[in-house]
Symmetry: C2
Amino acid sequence: MTRTRDLLAPAALFHALSDETRLAIIERLRSGERCVCDLTDLLDSAQSRLSFHLKVLREAGIIDCRREGRWAYYWLSPDGLAELDDAVKALQPSKAATRRAACCS
Amino acid sequence: MTRTRDLLAPAALFHALSDETRLAIIERLRSGERCVCDLTDLLDSAQSRLSFHLKVLREAGIIDCRREGRWAYYWLSPDGLAELDDAVKALQPSKAATRRAACCS
DNA sequence: TTGACATATCAATAATTATTGATATGTTTG
DNA sequence: CAAACATATCAATAATTATTGATATGTCAA
C-alpha cells in the first residue's frame, strides 16, 4: 500500500456524507443553523439516531454546534465544506492526463 | 422522513469515495487510464480485493473500463466526476442562509 | 492445445456501521 | 424542588461492507 498523500482524512469526510439521513440533515442546514428539535421531523424514528448522525457529521468537521440553554444548534462548517472542496478537487484528472495508458508495456 | 430531493444517488456516490483503497485507485487514475495489473501495487493483499473496489467505483459511475485482450483498463469517468461536483454543490449553504436560527420559537 | 496469465466472481467470514431502547445530564417552568 | 423537556451517550443487536481464499473465464504464447 504505497501512498503519497494521506487519504484517511478525505475518506472519512466522504464517509460522513455517504448516508441519506446525514445528507438530509445537511440539506436542512443549508439555509442556516437549526436546533436539533427542528430536525427531528427528518426521521421517523429514534431521537438517539439523529443524535448519532449529528455526531458523525460533527466529528467529520462538516457541521459545528453550540449549546444554548437546553437547545443545541447545528450549522454547516465553512471549514469543513472547504476541506470537502479540496478533497474533491484532488480527484480531478491531472492536466497531463492521457486517455490511453502506456501500461503493461 | 420527508425529503424533497433524492439523496440516495449522492449518498451512493460519496460512499464509493469513502475508502482509502478506492481513493488510492482514483489518485492513480488521475494521470490517465491504467490496467488493473498496474494498480496491484496499491495493495499488499488479495487481487480479488482490488477487483471488488474497482467494481464499487464502477457501479458508482466514477470510473469506466474497457477490456483489451486479457487486460482491463480503467479510467476516471468525466460524467461521474461531474455528478460528484453537482452533489457537492448541493451541500453548499444557500445564498439566503442566516447564521442564527429562528428556531424553536 | 496446454499452461501461464489477467481478471472477475462467489461463498464464507470478519469488520465496521447503524439502529434501538434505556438511561443519564443539564435546563427550564410551575 | 419536582416534573417535563432537549439532547447525548451507552450497550446490545442488526445490518451493511470488506476481506479472504477458491474457483471460473477468457486470452495469449510456446
